[in-house]
């Protein structure tokens, strides 16, 4: 791909804030259809059997979650992107372990919405979810017949934590979701709707 343009850094880029706002996870399912946009390096839609796809929203302690991306090029025409999403769930409860257990042995996709849909001086939550990244959904080396057979999915990599020992210790677990893919994470450009409870969201075109 030829270089067609440069890259500007504006004040808004310099004022960007860290951390994540929403972490949504979903298991790849038969009938999933993903529409990629290679002009913007985005994803136009993720649908499940032609309808809006439902995701689970995993809340975490504020300022505890992060997405890191490490790209490595070994001189071939392929660059490997190791994506790691880690978030801390305080509590160490049965309900939380049930949710974590459901991630076990599952081919996942993760949607990470960060805190940059509003400027830092704005306090009301943004009505948009445009500042996001998707891991575990990539077009590079996808299965050309059926999206569900894409082998560049995200997966549960580790669950670390515990009760602590001192009364003032942290109790909870850090959940890590990883994905090895061969293109940089894309942004979801379709419609994202947060459910009424805040614990689900849907993606559509």
């Amino acid at each position: 791909m030829a270089i067609a343009d440069g890259l500007a850094i504006n004040c808004s880029d310099l004022q960007a804030v860290g951390g994540t706002r929403i972490i949504a996870l979903r298991a790849w399912a038969d009938g999933d259809v993903v529409s990629y946009d290679n002009t913007t390096h985005g994803i136009n839609s993720i649908l499940e059997t032609a309808s809006a796809a439902t995701w689970g929203v995993y809340e975490s302690r504020i300022e505890s979650s992060s997405l890191t991306v490490s790209g490595t090029d070994e001189g071939k025409d392929t660059t490997t992107y190791e994506c790691t999403l880690a978030f801390f769930i305080p509590g160490f409860t049965q309900a939380q372990f049930l949710r974590i257990f459901q991630l076990d042995g599952t081919c996942l996709m993760a949607l990470v919405i960060d805190n940059n849909d509003n400027t830092s001086g704005t306090t009301a939550p943004s009505a948009t979810f445009a500042s996001n990244k998707v891991i575990g959904v990539s077009e590079r080396f996808e299965n050309q017949d059926d999206a569900v057979r894409n082998q560049t999915y995200a997966r549960l990599a580790s669950v670390e934590g515990g009760t602590g020992s001192a009364f003032s210790d942290e109790i909870g677990v850090t959940v890590t979701i990883t994905c090895t893919q061969y293109e940089a994470p894309r942004a979801y450009e379709g419609t994202i709707v947060l459910g009424a409870t805040g614990l689900t969201l849907t993606t559509a075109a």
């Binding site: 004022q15 860290g18 302690r61 504020i62 704005t122 306090t123 939550p125």
Partner: protein
Amino acid sequence: MAITDGIAVKCADLQASGGIRNILIRTWATGDAVTYVNTGTSHSISSIVDTGGSDATWYVYEFKNESPALTVAAAKENGSTSYESALAFMMPEMTDVKGAALQQLMDTCMMVIAVGNNGVNYVLGVSQKYSNEKAEIRNQTYSSMTGAEGASGAAYNDDSGWTVTMGCKQWEALRVFTGTITLFPGGAGVYTATTN
């Protein structure tokens, strides 16, 4: 957010008294509803009500006069500005009643209103920035008791009592409560207040 106006300092501002007049504390509860006001001239909360929708009940913590102080320290790192707030007040005399009051502050997520002697109602632990978008009860920028120091004193004229600090870290400047506060609606001896 772009700058849209400057700020004036008037005689009344210069005459404003320091210190805190009333301290109200309550625990966040399921069904709480907060109305935020975000305009070019107001960074405030116009209403805090509980699940009934008509008002919210607070508890009034009295203190030794001229002992409480509210401090706010903001720090900016990259694009994020955090505000560390601390409200310290002294409950004179270390009694079992005061100890029981401390016990109740230990493990709950709280909101605090500190009414200044200038008539302004400062709110700690209720902020819109990074609040939960669907359930206010899951707001993680609440206030908690961050410190309590008790002292019997040694000399006869030393103070005996507890100095309690209510702290809060949030990512917006403290808001002012502009709704109605009713102190002691239950009459004498019932240390409550309501907001609506």
